[in-house]
Symmetry: C2
Subunit: 433 residues, 2 copies
């Protein structure tokens, strides 16, 4: 039986600010980064890889925090850890000294995400399955035991969670077959719409998106209303009026400003407005939603934890729930959010992009369709064509779909050469600068 | 004109877990800790001191984060920094790479609190005034410029904030005189009520509190209902039925459990239930409040930022707002929360205890009474008799009142000997262990 022998934590930063990839109204110059965790066992063929995503400065803090969680894995039996990730998760979350630093939010929480992502990757590799398959082979009881349901019982009881999963259990295999037949899980692209791009580049990238089969595209807005109008006009010229056009303000507005600005763009018929205001503002999102309908409201990439999502659902504040695979504390918390969303009938359209988020969310979306929501209606998962070359099992997107991953694990492993080159500050790239 | 020449960040930990000081249902073994920042100028007589509070592990992460903010102060002119702390605060908050790690919550946010606390201490020392005096000598415009009003305008506009402050401006001096005449600002004590204490110790400490003039005492609850009943019965025997008896669950319950448990203790007529559930759960607190009235609901020591407090007020979720001086990002964010509370007519009863929080909140409560709320009704500030000996200007509590601080600054400076002894892990105390 393999035993966890050592762990590593790497501060990896990619110099994306130099090309304005990822530029938006709030985040003008991010260097896409990962706090990257490797869990090694005494079996040379079995390791776990996980990470969380940041945009540069402070990634060292997250890496240090993740290492503090990760060292506690050393000496543990892989089967025990992999057999009950819920027990491990609860043990980590019950460290009251670390909890004080959140609780369950910010640096310690995303650091826990990195570590638990590595644990889930390890569990899937040990089982010889891609993560989505590991999850969809678990019983409803096993899934609910793994899920973090603390603080949720006023909205979702354990019995309700079990009932949702049991309803879909008999037909799981049919939905796996259906996804494989249709070519994968539907996605949309944000690659075209960063604020820093010129009109020509915007037009060219949108055309490429349409030509590649995308029926949803997304543009960043919120820095300048007249420029937003010009760029949305270009977008509609290129993609037409049948495609869904989403807009994303990345939290730059107060609530009244959000309402005014979004309504000023209504003529372009946005499918949703994403992150209109502070990600913490449940009541603010509810107010925006009431005021901009029929434009939908979407948020979640900065949704700090399941308690925030519970409230967004209770307050009828969102039309689309955009959980983040590296900000929520891994699969344990994500299962709970999917179950909440199913209970409230709100589609989950996960946030992705960054570094490696696409690699993770492809597994989660398949899990949702197969085991939880059993619906593709209004569901589309983000895809951004950046930085996949650094992963050993990069996601494959064809004709606007994530092709189902087939290799064991959570697709979270980076190439050793990428780690060596972009480790901060001593990797080859940063040492050269 | 003095210039900031160097900064220091110290990880200070006090071994409070050995005596169960500070034990509650969630936090059983905290080592009260401070991420302590010193800002030195080229004037040997002028430095600024600030900190944030944690309970042990991870304090190194906060210290490291605080240092990343603090080094940006080096080379700046003290008058410029002290003359417009709002500009500095906004500059720090607009670092989008650091912002990603919250935003505005968790490790980076409390680290910013430590640094801005040092900046406000420096500003008060440079002016030769205690912080409360510095603030109550500022014009309404200056206070509003210093305040962080971002994301609040749906609940509090800049004009409304100005109007609140202008209403109270002409009578500020009278309220300062009144506080001095009455012996200070009213406080209550939690020193008696930690969960780990024996019944005899509980009884003795409660009697001491009553004998010292306290009319409010607080007990920790939530680990065991029968023990809670026994301890509350003892408390009522000692303090009688005229004193206010508060109870504090430190977030251990889900919402339905909170309602049930608190109502099961209703016979002891608690004044408030503090932290009944997750600190992030605005709607949960509102539900608890509706279900346990007339028992009041209080929360805020883990209130992550002003957006959370805005919603607690909008949702009518709380009867008492317990902001924390080291979790909110210093005076800039705290002014905003006081103004919100005044707008909604909810009394602010700051959280204190820990390390040095009493030293800070005494200034804030005086500011509130003199410049913002102009009311003492239902207002009482926490006091815990721990660890004050480590501060050069410790708070003075007499007859249940915080005596108004008179020395320049924010009372945040620790003795050099305390820093040397309790620095972690290399200070004398920890090196011995």
């Amino acid at each position: 039986m393999p035993v966890i022998e050592s762990v590593e934590a790497h501060d990896i930063r990619f110099p994306t600010s130099s090309t304005l990839d990822g530029s938006d109204a709030m985040n003008k110059d991010g260097d896409y980064s990962a706090a990257y965790i490797v869990v090694r066992t005494d079996d040379p063929g079995l390791s776990g890889y996980g990470f969380t995503f940041t945009i540069g400065r402070g990634n060292d803090l997250v890496t240090a925090a993740a290492l503090q969680w990760a060292v506690r894995l050393i000496g543990r039996d892989v089967r025990t850890v992999a057999g009950d990730p819920g027990a491990l998760y609860r043990e980590f979350q019950s460290d009251s000294q670390m909890r004080w630093l959140g609780p369950e939010k910010g640096v310690v929480h995303i650091a826990l995400a990195a570590v638990m992502n590595a644990v889930w990757d390890l569990a899937a590799r040990e089982a010889g399955k891609p993560l989505w398959r590991l999850l969809t082979d678990m019983t409803p009881e096993q899934l609910v035991d793994a899920a973090d349901l603390r603080y949720l019982s006023d909205a979702l009881t354990r019995d309700e969670a079990l009932a949702i999963l049991r309803d879909q259990e008999p037909t799981r295999a049919a939905r796996v077959a259906e996804l494989e037949a249709r070519g994968g899980y539907p996605c949309y692209t944000t690659s075209a719409g960063w604020l820093g791009y010129s009109d020509d580049k915007l037009r060219r990238l949108l055309q490429e998106a349409v030509d590649s089969g995308y029926r949803h595209v997304k543009l960043k807005v919120g820095a300048n209303l007249e420029e937003d109008r010009r760029r949305l006009r270009i977008a509609r010229e290129v993609v037409g009026w049948d495609a869904k056009l989403m807009i994303d303000a990345n939290q730059v507005w107060d609530v009244p400003e959000a309402v005014e600005w979004v309504n000023a763009l209504a003529e372009f018929k946005p499918h949703w407005i994403e992150e209109p205001t502070s990600p913490d503002d449940v009541l603010g999102h509810a107010a925006v939603r009431r005021a901009v309908a029929p434009i939908g409201v979407a948020t979640g990439e900065h949704g700090m934890n399941r308690v925030l999502f519970k409230q967004l659902l209770q307050a009828e504040a969102i039309d689309y729930l955009q959980l983040d695979s590296a900000r929520l504390a891994s699969v344990n918390e994500i299962i709970a959010v999917y179950l909440l969303a199913a209970k409230f009938g709100v589609p989950v359209c996960p946030h992705a992009g960054g570094v490696g988020l696409c690699e993770l969310v492809q597994h989660l979306s398949v899990f949702d369709y197969v085991a939880v929501s059993a619906s593709l209606e209004d569901r589309v998962t983000e895809y951004v064509d950046h930085l996949h070359e650094h992963f050993t099992d990069p996601c494959i997107v064809e004709h606007g779909n994530y092709v189902l991953p087939s290799r064991p694990g959570y697709s979270a492993q980076m190439h050793d050469a990428s780690v060596a080159e972009f480790a901060y500050p001593d990797g080859e790239y940063w040492a050269r600068r």
